[in-house]
Assembly symmetry: C2
Homo-oligomer: 474 residues x 2
Amino acid sequence: MATSPPGSSAGSGQQGAHRGAPHPSPRHPRLDPLADRYAARTHGMKSSEIRALFSVVSRPEVVSLAGGMPAVTALPLDAVGSMIGDLVSGMGAQTLQYGSGQGDPRLRERICDVMALEGIHDASASEVVVTVGSQQGLDLVTRVFVDPGDVILAEAPSYVGALGVFQSAEARVRHVAMDDDGLIPEALEEALLDCRAAGDRVKFLYTVPNFHNPAGVTLTEPRREAIIALAEKYDLLVIEDNPYGLLGFEHEPLRALRARNSERVIYLGSFSKTFSPGLRVGWVLAPLAVREKLVLATEAQVLCPPSLTQYAVARYLDTQPWREQIKIFTELYRERRDACLESLEALMPAGTTWTRPDGGFYVWLKLPHGLDAKLMQPRAVNALVAYVPGIGFYADGSGQEYMRLSYCYPEPDQIREGVRRLARVIEAELDLHSTFDAVDTGTFRAVRPDADGRFSGSGTIVGPANSNAYEDGR
Amino acid sequence: MATSPPGSSAGSGQQGAHRGAPHPSPRHPRLDPLADRYAARTHGMKSSEIRALFSVVSRPEVVSLAGGMPAVTALPLDAVGSMIGDLVSGMGAQTLQYGSGQGDPRLRERICDVMALEGIHDASASEVVVTVGSQQGLDLVTRVFVDPGDVILAEAPSYVGALGVFQSAEARVRHVAMDDDGLIPEALEEALLDCRAAGDRVKFLYTVPNFHNPAGVTLTEPRREAIIALAEKYDLLVIEDNPYGLLGFEHEPLRALRARNSERVIYLGSFSKTFSPGLRVGWVLAPLAVREKLVLATEAQVLCPPSLTQYAVARYLDTQPWREQIKIFTELYRERRDACLESLEALMPAGTTWTRPDGGFYVWLKLPHGLDAKLMQPRAVNALVAYVPGIGFYADGSGQEYMRLSYCYPEPDQIREGVRRLARVIEAELDLHSTFDAVDTGTFRAVRPDADGRFSGSGTIVGPANSNAYEDGR
């Protein structure tokens, strides 16, 4: 079976309120006199697993394998600083002034140059909308397409920030299984057929094909072709989110999905990982009719993106050795990836498995049978190591046995120390678990065996299959 | 009568689709293969009157009294440039990195200092959310509070960018009349009673109390007290949008509505007019429970505001003479306001009336009886002068006889030349009108006399009452 056994809710989890469905009552109406007047979408909003960690990971004694912060200090800061200073001193009338909602035309042209590196040669600047990070791009696309109750297909696991957008849109998310080769086309087709049979309207598939966040895997060439073929067959719109595509360690970038189909794929890009996330410059590439809607939506949302940051990126692309800088970043992340994988190999107890990314920022780790990453988290923080529990990356409450490890930000020695601490915590959990073996302590959830090799609460990733944890959809 | 005569739709115009209402068919489904899958909110989106002018006003031979661009070249660009350059060179690890969704704590503290200038002394940095311009602040507040079909009260006329947000939220806008003293409390109370009688849920009042965009008027001290009293009496939430409050020509700022009530007023602020719009730094001040919702909403929308622009504003407030700079801006705008009002007084034909702003950017002009600012626009552009037709500032299709003139950006001589050109265009229209007097040419709309002194399609502003134009709600 691809995504969900019959009768299971794991593969078709829903989030967000349906139109007309009763909303949960506010918990403390006396504490919030406005509690009775929030919009329906607001009742479903909750903090992400990542934000809950912010206060913890900022403590210097904690090795954080949690955040996804790029290594911006590897940039030539003096050169970038004087470049940006000159932009303000010399072009203040433009860089400090309002711009157009669609974004600076010069930047949009350079964005087309960047996309050509992943095989997109037919994009025109008129089809590009500059956004406040690709997060805003995804939010705009969702606002333009999604009504409450609509279904969005998304990988299992999926980027936590995307799930937040979909929740805010009161969409229902149906997860589609992945494995080491990325999204599984057969699982996608099954999901499409299920939705069709149920009369559910699928607005789009959301996918991160390269160096997936959090799974760390990359969609293979044959699967890219298969997914585009399915998009044609089922009239499916695909949102291709690609912040990491140029950060590969092993080979040239694979051709983007958008390079294979310009009508059914909307492409999201970002300079957060190739230059700087603090500038918040991303973009959407969309067919002209959609682009027009996106511009109207962004004008209602922010009027226009910041001019200064757009000019900074355009000038950076015009005057600085940005391709060489990407190589510098890539080498740095490769070294950190190696430190992470070597430590995991050397130190993790049996039964622990993980993905082996060949680019990007993340390793997706599965705990030994019966362990729960969220419940283990306080003990990990006590041991001065932080990660992101897997459940944040599922809309359906599954993923308890997974965690995301980020190797992008700490130095290699810190990564090794962090993995060492984590291994000790897992070993201690296993000891505790064996002591209470087969006893339901309230700490461990009901598990179900499965012979499959998938992530989505339905199998292992690298090692042999062992267990699955399910929880009721919420 | 306050806002709308019985049977008229002018005072209770609606925009956006109702839940369950049929959506207009896409016009060219063959041109947009995705036309059948947009969200309901998307079908209601349309270009603003201002955007339609962008291509026109960028021509150098046109005197634009249309845009609301601040005079950023009056800033000390060299000092600001080297300040921002140093921020990147010296603090790149912070200024180029992700920040928190709520915004930089240091900046939020300085924002509290700024708000103290308008009498808000009890604000804490924890209640402030930094936004991508105050436009995003308004969008976040709307997302948090407004479901499709909810009613928002807004002045007539109202800021066009706010109407775009409300339209995108599928809200219904009910206008409340203003006069030279700002929003009319009696009209507000009548609107509240009407909504209560109709069973409509009023989510909030949106108001720009200082140097209103587009009306140019300021809410008087007694009316501020009256509106706060009404908010208490009717359990009304007030969104106070205050981008221009520190740009007064005549006297110290009046105390903000938020300074009078911290529980029922959510305050929106911006550095776009006191420093730079190209940085897109604004903020929301809200009670803690609401602030928490706003942070979740902004994280779903943009993750976090740009770090560089936030650091730039905080450093500017810390190290540059920003209060003196506001005085420089104010003197410059006062000179331009004077040029505008003196030219209007000297050149405009009888029957033309206008407001006399004592701060901010805008004059709101009413054309002589029977003229239509939107229909006149092509002839004005031919005469090389641009303005914004009034209908963009009404959700209900009224306002044909009004236009907004901005004096913020052109030099005084340009303003005088622009007003001269505009006066000639109006005179030519009057000649044409007298030729076809009493003949319905399709150019002039049915008008209705009224003895009132209000803006909202219900009276004159400065001169004696003469006419009103109504159009069916759309």
